[in-house]
Symmetry: C2
Subunit: 587 residues, 2 copies
């Protein structure tokens, strides 16, 4: 697949929209690590490796898939060599802790590289993403010994990581876990049980796989309060840090899936495997959430990466494919390129306007992650609150819009979009999992509306609205109608949050409204991103065409996408009874 | 895949909603052919064959796919035997002309059987659908000799049919066709050229494949006014009707696709192949449209069939899978079936409310096809007008909603929805083509808004609105708000039709608004179907639970689906400039 990293867009976001330089200067840990020149160089290197090393493996990896042969998981041809190069170049440890061998780069930059990797190949990207997520969790909750043993190997990409939560009877509902962990005299634990849907659970890319496993101690309380987190390596680690004997961790099967076929989705069996507690006993979910939140943002970015890749394919096809005559904007000849037709433009504009806003939100969320980690006091607290609110939104909204983007791009191709050789149908199949794993988008919506909005009676959203008013105070008169439209939308969302907080049938009302609430909020937040981009483009040092194009896309977004928020608001305001009253057996 | 034909629903539509008996009695050709008992018996036999013969081949057909070996196209194991049984039981000729061996059954019944076959297997269904469509075209436009030679073999399923339109440079734009036809002294023609994306273009299910091919005579005028239609058999037909020598028709390749993998999508090469004119010289598109309109409705029904199959899988999974606790409607035990959760119900209700309305519209459209064919005078004319308006709507709206339905059903399954073994991901892949082929849904939208609405200044829509007022005159007070909502929506659609008819930038305005107009109209028409079903359920002789369930789904539709029409109306009313003004090179 041909892929060109959108470097101009990315640098515009860092430099003009979010003034990364100022953010980094304000935080000592980052001021040392990075400046804009370094960031630009990293993005350029990232573009090179994703365009030339990873993207060319995407189609062949899909055709070949992961093989499972006598207990061995074999990745497609070229994957091992590419992964080794990728890891050796330091990309897996890009945002890792410098004291353990990571590059210490801000997440604000990391999200842009993540997007490139996903655009180039979803399946390839997952191996590194799970590894970086596992390292993040160990860095935050592991003992010093675990950090010293595992982090350098994870950052260097010699070993990889996996997140082992789901069991056959326990998916969205983790309280039903059955994997057991028994304490040993030496302070370690022995784990026995079976996990399913383990992305990168086993493969031939690295010497070891480091599993982060949710399990229950024999005397643990029932439900989700009795879950602990353990680090369980596939192979034991010798005292000198080298890989030792096998550790009772085996792959029982590899799933056959709709897409991401070069990503190994494994059944992983633990048979008296030695593990090490991460975080506190019975507090495993708290520790795992560090990894899960990281992965949720990463999976959101999978949605963005697919949207961008799909847009590039569709836009270039639309400018080449000649069918029919347009009305005046033709390019001459017997037929015009299909990009002149309104319905084709509609689809391309939709993808572009949503992808560019999503990318901006991903950088913003990365910035809040950096501030939550490195800043102090109120700044740290506010950033952490925003991360909590924006993570489920980004995960679900980026991926729902990601499916729509790939489907629209496929539609631009007509019949060729359905043929495997053109590559766009793979994007549809690959992105589809992103709406499901790391907590289905329905679960994200419940998290957003229930825990992040209603639980604080909309305080987080209200703070965001005030922030938006401040940030956009310099917006010119031409964009005031859009700004007012946006603020009114926030008011409507806040009003509903209050109403739900006071509702006597809160659980049903939240359950029935959550997905529509998330979509209404997503449109509102994208509107904010568009106005920030318009303002930054006008104030920055950009080419006139760049500024004008941004304004056109913003206008498109406000005229033709934002109105969807009002549909969702209308649904949110309907009585939940029509959802909840149908007897189960009538379905 | 487990599939149960929704016989109760189907009989409710025929008997109570559309009073098929009265329709059939009113038309001599149908009064002889069918009554309600026969219809019920046919549906029951149809349920049997689709459930037990076809559905079991669906997954294995997808895994195995069509093979192409040394010029031979080989369908998956079991296909040939099943197709032979299917054809011998008369199903291919169900709606065929009795004087040539067809069963003469009304389309009003045929659409319901079509839905069953698509629910059971998209790929399998296509072979029969193309054959029936080819027969329809020959019956309408072929010479008596062609009819006598080909129709009995097509109805019996011994031979199959294909529609050969697309060429590499000529997809949506047929004016660019290059396939040549040269007249011979014996009145036949010789065809040379290459066609792509030919569904069922070659395979091993039947002794012969009858191609209906668009081509140009050497002296034909340019553009679409110079296209003629030819019947070209894969193998020549001897004077005694038996299959003779090969006819210069060969399969050059079989496409690798996202889905419908057991359907042979072929490159077909014509090398001085003998063909016979169908219809008049240079009037090929008119003749082909008979087949194309038939196939468009059929492809719409592919969308419905997938929606129904997906609903059945998801509803049954939701009642079995236990995760989390609901709020009061629980089934006891540690966890509840996920059907108690609001967000799962939301998805199931959405699928059900759209699928049941779509099925009603398919029966209605079938009824209009029957009246357009068999009735006289004004009834015939009105029916033909409605068919023209409803065909693009059904094709695009059924299939757009079909993708949403299968995606929603897949989401109900969580992670299992992404695994091939569960079958629901195949439905997503299979249904996706239905939005693309037989004219992309964007083309359908242009046809609906441009040719079927604006061209007659909304006269067809206005007639429909008056019809709805008459049909729903007996609707009780409880449903008056919904009825008024619906009529207001028709008024808004009519107002826009008038405005567009008067617009000075009509082409751009139609191009930019067409897809949203189609979706707004689709919701309006579904609202009409829901009120018809509510009224018929109340007046009919149904079980109380049936009546109450229909009312609940109707209420759900009006509260949570119909409001989408207002979003689409808002978009239709935006200035097209934001769509049309972006320079081509900025995409």
């Amino acid at each position: 697949m041909q892929y060109n990293a959108p470097l101009t867009e990315m640098q515009f976001l860092l430099k003009d929209v979010f003034r990364a330089s100022e953010v980094w200067q304000s935080v000592p840990a980052l001021a040392e690590a990075i400046d804009m020149d370094t960031a630009a160089a990293i993005l350029e290197e990232g573009a090179k490796i994703t365009q030339t090393l990873i993207a060319p493996l995407n189609r062949s990896g899909d055709e070949e898939g992961v093989q499972f042969d006598q207990g061995q998981v074999i990745t497609p041809q070229g994957y091992k060599e590419a992964y080794t190069t990728y890891a050796e170049s330091g990309w897996v440890g890009l945002s890792g802790e410098p004291e353990y061998g990571g590059m210490g780069m801000p997440k604000m930059l990391g999200v842009l590289f993540d997007e490139m990797v996903y655009s180039a190949s979803n399946a390839f990207a997952l191996y590194g993403s799970l590894t970086a997520g596992a390292a993040l969790c160990i860095a935050a909750h592991g003992s010093e010994e675990l950090k010293q043993t595992y982090l350098p190997k994870l950052y260097s990409g010699e070993w990889s990581g996996a997140m082992d939560m789901t069991e056959p009877q326990s998916g969205s509902d983790l309280s039903q876990l059955r994997t057991k962990a028994v304490a040993q005299e030496d302070g370690s634990y022995r784990l026995t049980g079976s996990k399913i849907f383990i992305t990168g659970g086993d493969h031939d890319l690295t010497d070891n796989v480091v599993h982060l496993v949710l399990a229950k101690l024999p005397d643990a309380p029932g439900g989700s309060r009795g879950i602990s987190l353990f680090l369980v390596p596939k192979r034991r680690v010798n005292d000198n840090g080298s890989v030792g004997d096998s550790n009772g961790v085996s792959c029982g099967a590899v799933e056959h899936k709709m897409g991401i076929k070069a990503s190994a989705t494994c059944v992983i069996n633990f048979d008296d495997a030695q593990g090490y507690l991460v975080g506190k006993v019975n507090r495993g979910l708290v520790a795992m959430f560090t990894m899960m939140n990281y992965e949720r943002l990463s999976i959101g970015i999978q949605g963005l990466g697919c949207s961008e890749a799909a847009y590039q394919l569709a836009a270039s096809y639309a400018k080449e494919r000649k069918q029919g005559k347009g009305s005046g904007r033709g390019l001459g000849g017997e037929a015009d390129a299909i990009v002149v037709h309104g319905d084709v433009r509609r689809m391309l504009l939709e993808i572009a306007s949503l992808t560019e806003a999503g990318r901006a939100l991903s950088v913003y969320t990365g910035m809040q992650l950096d501030l939550a980690k490195h800043a102090d006091g109120d700044v740290k607290k506010r950033a952490a609150d925003q991360v909590a609110m924006l993570t489920p939104l980004a995960k679900a909204f980026f991926t729902d819009k990601g499916l729509e983007a790939t489907v629209n791009a496929q539609q631009v191709f007509g019949g060729h979009g359905y043929i495997r050789e053109w590559g766009v149908e793979q994007l549809v199949r690959d992105v589809r999992i992103a709406q499901i794993y790391e907590g289905t988008n329905g679960i994200q919506a419940l998290d957003l509306l229930g825990r992040k909005v209603v639980a604080n009676r909309g305080a987080g959203l209200l703070a965001l609205k005030h922030q938006i008013e401040r940030e956009l105070a310099d917006l010119g008169a031409a964009w005031q109608p859009q700004l007012q439209q946006l603020l009114a939308l926030f008011d409507a969302l806040l009003e509903k949050a209050q109403e739900l907080a006071n509702s006597s049938t809160k659980a049903d009302a939240i359950n029935s409204a959550a997905t529509d609430y998330l979509h209404a909020t997503g449109h509102a937040v994208y509107g904010w991103m568009w106005l920030k981009m318009v303002l930054a483009a006008e104030q920055g040092n950009q080419q006139p065409n760049f500024v004008e194009r941004k304004a056109m896309l913003a206008r498109y977004f406000f005229e033709r996408q934002l109105p969807k928020a009002h549909y969702h608001l209308q649904i949110i305001n309907q009585d939940p009874s029509v959802i909840m009253s149908m007897p189960n057996e009538w379905f």
